[in-house]
């Protein structure tokens, strides 16, 4: 059985690399969006804080698959509509890019909630101390709030990363040949579905193990710098 699927290994590893790559690129973007939105929720401007609350509630409530479909097919429709009067034909956006955008937007809302909750439990004294020594609001955020946030939120964010790894399998539905899609293709091409899905499971576990190890090292590093 293994001999039949073995020749597909390099094709397969490309899929695994894409799964890891999708999350590795989307996750930092999601964190940036999350931080920005978390700060926006406590903004003195009502419009900004309402917009942030709307963003969080919309994307936390929507199923990932719908966001991926809307970003991919929706952007193609919009691009075509915009390009038609100009007399040019566009091929639509790249599915990998669409998946990255969709995952970043969606997980940005989850990250925002994690940051927002941690911000709410910070003792006021930290910011007051910053103000007392003459730091500006933005410097307090950069030097005090963000480092503390990253430190306390790491365990929750590590969890979020693992969820993203698995949710990224939905990108296969718009034609991204990541690990799930390559596994489906190989299963259909070799007629050895059981072996194929077992190997895919091992690959997913290996990727999670790598992610878990990186998180562990990061937490240990943060602990030392305390």
């Amino acid at each position: 059985m293994i001999e039949i699927v073995a020749p597909y290994m390099s094709f397969w590893l490309e899929g695994a690399a894409l799964t890891l790559g999708l999350s590795a690129v989307s996750f930092p973007v999601a964190l940036l969006i999350g931080l920005a939105v978390a700060f926006a929720t406590v903004s003195p401007s009502r419009v900004v804080s309402l917009a942030a609350a709307a963003y969080i509630n919309i994307f936390r409530g929507l199923p990932e698959i719908i966001v991926i479909f809307v970003v991919f097919y929706g952007s193609t429709i919009v691009l075509k509509a915009l390009a038609a009067p100009l007399g040019i034909t566009v091929g639509g956006i790249n599915p990998v890019l669409a998946a990255t955008v969709a995952l970043s937007i969606q997980f940005g809302s989850y990250a925002a909630v994690i940051f927002k909750d941690w911000m709410a439990v910070f003792p006021k004294g930290y910011t007051e101390a910053g103000l007392a020594i003459g730091m500006t609001r933005s410097r307090i955020r950069r030097r005090i709030v963000v480092p503390l946030l990253m430190r306390s939120a790491t365990p929750a964010l590590g969890n979020l990363f693992l969820v993203m790894l698995k949710i990224s399998a939905l990108a296969s539905l718009i034609g991204v040949a990541e690990l799930s899609r390559t596994t489906g293709i190989i299963a259909g091409s070799t007629r050895e579905p059981l072996v194929c899905y077992l190997i895919a499971a091992v690959m997913y576990l290996a990727i999670s193990a790598i992610a878990g190890f990186v998180q562990y090292r990061f937490e240990a590093f943060v602990e030392r710098t305390r």
């Binding site: 479909f69 956006i93 091409s189 579905p193």
Partner: protein, 257 residues
Amino acid sequence: MLKILSSTALAAAIGIAFLSPARAEDAIKIGIDAAYKPFAYVEANGEMAGFEVDLIKAVCEEIKAKCELSNVPWDGIFTALETGTIDMIGTTVTKTAVRLEKYDASRMIYRVGFGFLVLNDADTSKGIEGLKGQPIGTIVGTQSYYDYIKGVLGEDADIRGYDTADAAVLDLDAGRIAAFQSDNIQLGQAYISTGRYKLAAEPTFDPKYVGEGRAWFYRKGSTDLVGRIDKGLDAVIASGKADELGLKYFNTKLTTE
């Protein structure tokens, strides 16, 4: 933070502009779900292969058109067609009245029969009647299969939809479904050939269920494209090239009448 966000947005916009160059009008974008051996599958090197892939290449060569093949999953293939991500579905799809209302189709490429796959040791003395009241697996979203199962087993038939034939056959092995309904070519080639399965009865070719055979599908209003591809198909079928491909992939000549 705003700076970072706006520069990310800018980078994304540039990315979109780069990744979607205006393509030459004459390249035909064809989507095909290459996860169904021997119709369409992927070789170990990642290249697409199979009956449908070879047939498309033969037709494109015949009409001297530039064709771009991409591997699109079945679940999203009609959405991809409607939104213009692809111009033609290269997976051969059954022509049904419902589909023809919404889409344009090529000429009939081949006709298939419908059958019920059961385990080799199953009791088939009563034929299809023996499956009444039992759970039947089929491919999810394939309306003609659902109509056929309901037609022969009754409106209240217990139908379980699967994404792929493999998933359904795994459940057949596990005893969760009594039979897997699909087309005779796929069942014969992929499963009966292993010696572990058989058909519950002779496959049905009744046009009421199998429709007008299988064809390639296009968006409504693709008359020009349909005409061009049909001309190529006629030539490829008349020259015997299609039969050659049928023998190569299915060990049988295809019913093109």
